[in-house]
């Protein structure tokens, strides 16, 4: 199915829960309200004409200093879906505020979300509700802060934690 048809189908099904759609550079994108995210992802995965069986990537963007978006929700969690059967792609995004940075976990749908979500938690401090094991993935346990946030200075040094005596 081509991207425009996918977006039109989602629009019919989810109506007002679909905040925005666009296709910049041929990447069809749906921005969805957080409450509808689990339903939309499950629909994308299970509905046969869509059959997005691969969660290719899951990441986040911090829009704190993005010109024109300083006042909007700070984080955007980005899902890149791919369907092996139909050979089509879709990008799904959900926006969350800093003081309520929680997104429903996608682990029940795709087990790979486990590590991707751990990385987003590690790097951005966005929590995933229902995640079975939300530990840091790349940084160490004692690390303070979330390094890919725009307000984390690139040159901040933290003491490396030695062996406990």
């Amino acid at each position: 199915m081509d991207g425009a048809a996918i977006l039109a189908g989602l629009q019919r099904r989810f109506g007002a829960d679909l905040v925005e759609t666009h296709d910049h550079g041929g990447d069809h994108t749906a921005v969805v309200a957080r409450a509808a995210l689990p339903r939309l992802l499950a629909y994308c995965r299970n509905e046969l004409p869509l059959a997005f069986d691969v969660l290719m990537d899951l990441t986040a963007v911090d829009y704190l200093t993005y010109s024109g978006r300083e006042d909007g929700p700070r984080f955007e969690v980005v899902y890149h879906l791919y369907s092996i059967v139909h050979n089509h792609r879709l990008r799904v995004k959900v926006r969350v505020d800093e003081d309520d940075a929680v997104v429903p976990s996608a682990v029940p749908l795709w087990p790979i979300a486990n590590w991707f979500e751990r990385e987003v938690w590690d790097m951005f401090g966005v929590r995933f509700s229902g995640h079975p094991d939300l530990r840091r993935l790349l940084m160490y346990e004692e690390f303070v802060g979330h390094p890919l946030r725009k307000d984390y200075p690139i040159d901040r040094r933290q003491p490396l934690i030695g062996p406990t005596v």
């Binding site: 550079g25 041929g26 990447d27 069986d53 290719m56 990537d57 990441t59 963007v61 795709w110 790349l138």
Partner: protein, 457 residues
């Protein structure tokens, strides 16, 4: 613990440790000879059988994504070299293509062919390293030496083209650093012939070898469904029977004009992965051969008429206003800049002043060229893609390598995300090794072909 005898402590039995046997926790890594790169696998063993495994990564985290945000768009290219450091060219091109998508520019035909040829050479290097290293861990040291020998021929080609072996930084947004050197086609064909012979030898040494097959067949298997659910791509997915390859499914550059097969296997075990990688190298060789035959402009042979002058004299003449006809005079470039002469530059780079540095003749010889150069190099200027986002997938050696770039219209990337192809298999590694012997952890881990630079970024 005072009343625990050594035997009780070691075997986990007897009065000192409670009654009966208990599982033993063994950590492999971070510094373990079979853990290429640095990674820690915590295993819980019942005898020799792995009951549970937990994979801990991040030991090679270098803040790739954060560093990319700190410099200009082209400044990220050297960082991408260090992602998958066995096939760095593919990373270069993947990142450049993502930014080109954001800018909406198309690279020249010749550049597309160069990218395809260099990507496939890198893919062969990567598979050679993977198979060679896994075979060595199973005791087949000869295979390792043979394969590294073949890789050496190929890395010499890479060195000829890029000037470096590992940290190549050859891609540029809108093109590549330099054109192919003289005699590249002949040298490549010779190297490919050598590589074919090595592959043939390795086939005879390993494919039917009892010691090798006993350790590989049926080991580390992952079902087709689970492979897909874990978003595993590349040779591991194809070994499980799914013929997904970005080069075929969503062709980029000129892959849709080239003939090649997507090798697949059914079993999804280590042996199937080995067979897929061996077959893929053969296909990559075919692609390079076709690419060399089809590349427009033929073998590069830049031949200027007239007397070349050196850059310092060129700049002096420009400064003195003696610019009449200056742009037509060829320039002797330093070896570092070989392949960037005006004629070559036009062949390999997109025609877009917002992105591409002018050829050195123009920079040294005309005020327009100099301004153009400064506008791309100076702090606060440079490439400025419009606001937006783009995701560009390429087929890396281990699977789909995707770059997701976000621009806020500035001269620096707002966000660069690399989708590392070896992260999903590492996330699924515990599923592959649980229930198997601890000795099988090594070949299974080898078949994943984890590259620390890419996994931890």
């Amino acid at each position: 613990m005072a009343d625990t005898t050594r035997r009780e402590f070691m075997l986990g039995e007897g009065s000192g440790t409670g009654s009966g046997s208990q599982n033993l926790h063994v950590g492999m890594g971070p510094a373990h000879p079979a853990m290429h790169g640095i990674i820690r696998i915590l295993t819980e063993l019942d005898g020799e059988v792995i009951v549970r495994a937990d994979v801990e990564i991040g030991y090679l985290h270098r803040a790739f994504e954060k560093e990319c945000e700190a410099g200009g768009w082209n400044n990220a290219i050297p960082y991408t070299d260090r992602l998958n450091y066995v096939s760095p060219l593919i990373n270069n091109f993947g990142y450049c293509s993502a930014v080109e998508k954001l800018l909406g520019i198309d690279v020249t035909e010749r550049c597309k062919y160069i990218r395809v040829i260099m990507s496939e050479i890198s893919r062969i290097c990567d598979h050679l390293t993977c198979i060679g290293a896994s075979a060595m861990e199973l005791g087949a040291f000869t295979v390792f030496l043979y394969m590294i020998k073949a890789r050496e021929y190929l890395w010499e080609l890479v060195e000829d083209v890029t000037g470096a072996r590992l940290t190549i930084s050859y891609g540029r947004v809108g093109g590549v650093k330099a054109d192919l050197p003289d005699g590249f086609a002949e040298k490549t064909l010779r190297a490919l012939k050598e590589t074919r012979e090595v592959l043939d030898e390795v086939h005879r040494l390993l494919t039917g070898n009892r010691i090798f097959t006993d350790r590989m067949v049926g080991v580390g298997a992952l079902s087709r469904e689970e492979t897909i659910a874990y978003a595993i791509t590349g040779p591991m997915l194809r070994a499980a029977g799914v013929s997904y390859d970005v080069r075929r499914a969503q062709p980029y550059y000129v892959y849709d004009r080239l003939e090649f097969e997507i090798p697949t296997q059914k079993a999804g075990d280590n042996y199937a992965r080995y067979l897929v990688r061996m077959a893929e190298m053969e296909q990559s060789i075919r692609i390079v051969e076709q690419g060399l035959a089809m590349i427009p402009g033929g073998p590069v042979n830049v031949d200027f008429e007239g007397r070349p002058i050196d850059p310092a004299a060129y700049v002096d003449r420009g400064k003195q206003g003696k610019t009449d006809g200056l742009l037509l005079v060829p320039l002797t470039l330093s070896p570092n800049l070989q392949g960037q002469q005006r004629a070559a530059s036009e062949r390999i780079n997109a025609d877009d002043k917002r992105v591409i540095l002018p050829p050195k003749e123009n920079t040294y010889g005309s005020i327009e060229g100099l301004m153009n150069h400064f506008m791309l190099i100076m702090e606060g200027y440079g490439i400025r893609p419009p606001q937006g986002e783009a995701y560009f997938p390429v087929e890396g050696a281990n699977g789909e390598l995707g770059f997701y770039v976000v621009s806020d219209g500035g001269d620096r990337p707002y966000r660069v995300r690399c989708r590392p192809p070896c992260l999903p298999p590492m996330a699924a590694l515990h599923r592959m090794v649980e229930g198997e012997m601890i000795a099988d952890l090594v070949p299974t881990f080898g078949s994943v072909n984890m590259i620390g630079g890419e996994l931890d970024r």
